[in-house]
């Protein structure tokens, strides 16, 4: 018993020290190359694929949600335009039947649970950080509401490539570094190379800074782990892709509206600029 507690304490300390040590490893070594994926929501005309978001939501709830919360998402978001486009009735019954949230204190001041409604946020898997760390060998599974925004893919380009790569990313509107990273992370679990000694409770990952991560491969069971009902092949690669698309939407639910409005605004300003340019030329004609 005592031994067990000691081991757990050691693991907690290790987890607390990990971000710092991983950072050192990252700074000292070359950044791991992250391949860019094709996302339906990338680029200037990007839109989420509703079917993909629905599949991604299924992967999230069946696999990720056991350890990771998504607290900034509310059930009503699932029926909003620009999202997965679930029917309202389906989400209402999903919330009511599958999720319990804290109710307001009753007359005796006791807090009871009640079924969730559309206006509720997704309840977290653990009541607090301590409970999460206790259950996870000292590691804290991060909330996934913003995960694709909170990660990035370093190009690791030498300085003379920086200007043209920047220009390319700006012109193509590349904002999917976080999605690319999370996808690469989900696909990056592997057996450690012979010269790597993993710490206790740690798993090897090809793209994680320092290569040792407390999270285990979520798709270890392999293809067929999550059942798809739209005929999409039930492969680990599809699970990773679909859940990353879902998380990208969760982190940026206004993406579609933003890109659609952007096109109109840019068109409007461009036409205005041309007219103003012509007016300027006419006014200055007599001067030069």
């Amino acid at each position: 018993m005592i031994r067990n507690i000691r081991a757990r304490t050691a693991a907690m300390l290790l987890a607390a020290a990990l971000p710092a040590s991983a950072g050192v490893a990252w700074a000292a070594s070359e950044a791991v190359h992250i391949d860019r994926q094709k996302w339906s929501f990338g680029g200037l005309f990007g839109k989420f694929d509703d079917a993909q978001l629905q599949r991604g939501f299924k992967v999230y709830t069946e696999v990720c949600a056991r350890c990771h919360g998504i607290k900034r998402l509310q059930f009503r978001n699932l029926v909003q335009p620009g999202g997965p486009g679930f029917p309202e009735a389906a989400v209402k019954s999903l919330a009511a039947n599958n999720y319990q949230v804290d109710d307001a204190p009753d007359d005796e001041g006791k807090i009871k649970k009640r079924p969730a409604i559309l206006a509720d946020s997704f309840p977290p898997p653990y009541p607090n950080e301590q409970a999460a760390r206790f259950a996870q060998n000292g590691a804290l599974p991060p909330d996934l509401s913003l995960i694709t925004k909170a990660r990035s893919a370093d190009t690791g380009a030498p300085f003379y490539r920086v200007p043209d790569m920047m220009l390319r990313d700006i012109l193509t509107g590349y904002q999917e570094g976080g999605a690319d990273y999370v996808y690469a992370y989900l696909r990056g679990f592997a057996d450690p190379p012979a010269d790597v000694k993993l710490a206790e409770f740690m798993n090897y990952n090809k793209v994680f800074p320092g290569h040792q991560t407390a999270m285990a491969n979520p798709f270890l069971a392999g293809d067929g782990l999550v059942k798809y009902d739209d005929g999409t092949p039930e492969t680990v690669d599809n699970y990773a892709r679909d859940v990353v698309a879902f998380l990208s939407w969760a982190a940026d639910p206004s993406l579609e509206e933003r890109k659609r409005m952007g096109l109109l605004v840019l068109l409007y300003i461009a036409i205005t600029a041309i007219l103003l340019g012509l007016a300027k030329r006419r006014i200055w004609r007599t001067v030069h």
Binding site: G173, Y174, K280, I283
Partner: protein, 427 residues
């Protein structure tokens, strides 16, 4: 203000009535309608208008954001997400404000670079220049405090690193630096108290900037605008009235710049920021790299290039304060670098140094990055302290045109321009 005859003729009964009591419309007309602008100014002279636009945009979006934002450690990050997700067009306002800060700095760097290239700081524009440097310093302070408000990891750690710089004063008077830092923090570490006071100041300083911009424009309209030749307006044909000429040019340039602004707001809202700022501030976890926003990177590189902490801090602050003295450090007889064949090379060397320092500021301070940062830092200071005074005396400027008109129309050119309706008097 600049003396030229007013062409203002109030027409309506109300305008006549007001003109006899408070001639504010007459003043506006004199300053912004028939104010004589040099006829040869290029598009770099549209950045002043751009900056005014961004100042107003930042204030307008900022006021609305402040209605939904909560400046406390527990709620700041959540309230920004609330703005992004739940407030009507909150995502748009927040993107405009965050990207607007970057665009503001992009425009101000072009504006300052133009002033340096064309010698706009030289007599009689020293005070105009100095007010500009003060505005720039306030802009930096405002941006720095604004960056702390989302209370993400980078916000928190940038505040920690930068406020901690004052603790280097401990090496002069033991305890002084620590006391100053605790006074800034309002405690023994960066906390919600620090956040709340930064929010208060972040809301205050833009209005101080508005006042200083008023003085900046006043000083500009006394000395008159500089231009690519660096010559003064001498005759009516050297100038055009501000409206419609300069105004048309300004608005056109503004519309093109807003195109760039909109591109980032709608397609790349997070491109100029850092992913770590989407992680809520955590005092127990330090991010692998702590880097400031792109517009502070050159100064950050200077800070880290110096091995001694106190000297690094002094170097960083003096790299900007030095700008206050360049009206007197530059000994050249001519204003515009266009006519300075030797200094021209040094000017571009300076620009390259600043860009290189920006790149190095984004890299970890290790290996060859440190050496290069030291070299470019050395040039940054040498440029102002050695090159400017010496080259100004030793170089032979190429011949200047006799007037602005001649520079536009060539020697044979005679005054066919429209001219300002009222010729500015020679000063």
């Amino acid at each position: 203000m600049a003396s030229h005859e007013s062409t203002y003729r109030p027409t309506s009964a109300f305008a006549k009535w007001l003109d006899a009591r408070l001639p504010i419309l007459r003043m506006m007309h004199a300053q912004f309608v028939d104010f004589p602008t040099p006829r040869n100014i290029n598009y770099l002279w549209t950045t002043g208008g751009l900056l005014t636009f961004f100042l107003v945009t930042q204030i307008a979006t900022g006021i609305v954001l402040a209605m939904h934002y909560a400046p406390t450690a527990a709620d700041a990050f959540n309230s920004v997400e609330h703005i992004r997700r739940d407030v009507n067009y909150g995502w748009l306002l927040r993107n405009m404000h965050a990207v607007g800060a970057s665009m503001f700095f992009l425009a101000v760097y072009i504006h300052i670079g133009r002033g340096l290239y064309y010698g706009s700081y030289k007599a009689p524009r020293e005070v105009l220049w100095i007010i500009g440097v003060v505005i720039f310093l306030l802009m930096m302070a405002t941006a720095f405090m604004g960056y702390s408000l989302p209370w993400g990891q980078m916000s928190f750690w940038a505040v920690t690193v930068i406020t901690n710089l004052f603790s280097s004063l401990d090496s002069i008077i033991p305890g002084l630096g620590t006391r100053i830092v605790q006074w800034l923090w309002g405690g023994y570490s960066v906390s919600g108290t620090t956040l709340t006071r930064f929010f208060s100041l972040h809301y205050l300083l833009p209005f101080v900037i508005v006042g200083l911009v008023g003085l900046h424009i006043w000083a500009l309209h006394v000395a008159g605008q500089n231009n690519p030749t660096g010559l003064e307006i001498k005759t009516a044909s050297d100038s055009v009235p501000m409206s419609p000429h300069a105004v048309a040019k300004d608005i056109f340039a503004l519309s093109v710049f807003v195109l760039l602004f909109a591109w980032f707001v709608f397609y790349l809202p997070d491109y100029l920021g850092h992913a770590d700022n989407y992680i809520e501030a955590n005092p127990l976890s330090t991010p692998p790299h702590i880097v400031p926003e792109w517009y502070f990177l050159p100064y950050y590189a200077i800070l880290r290039a110096i091995p001694n902490k106190l000297l690094g801090v002094i170097a960083m602050f003096s790299s900007i304060l030095l700008l206050l003295f360049i009206p007197w450090l530059d000994t050249s007889r001519v204003r515009s670098t266009k006519y300075r064949p030797v200094y021209k090379w040094f000017f571009w060397m300076f620009v390259i140094s600043v860009i290189a320092l920006g790149y190095l500021g984004s890299k970890p301070p290790e290996g060859s990055y440190v050496l290069w940062a030291r070299l470019f830092t050395a040039y940054y200071f040498l440029h102002f302290l050695v090159v400017m005074p010496i080259v100004g005396v030793t170089e032979n400027p190429t011949p200047l045109p006799r007037s602005i008109t001649e520079s536009v129309l060539g020697k044979s050119g005679h005054a066919v321009g429209v001219g300002a309706p009222a010729a500015p008097e020679r000063r």
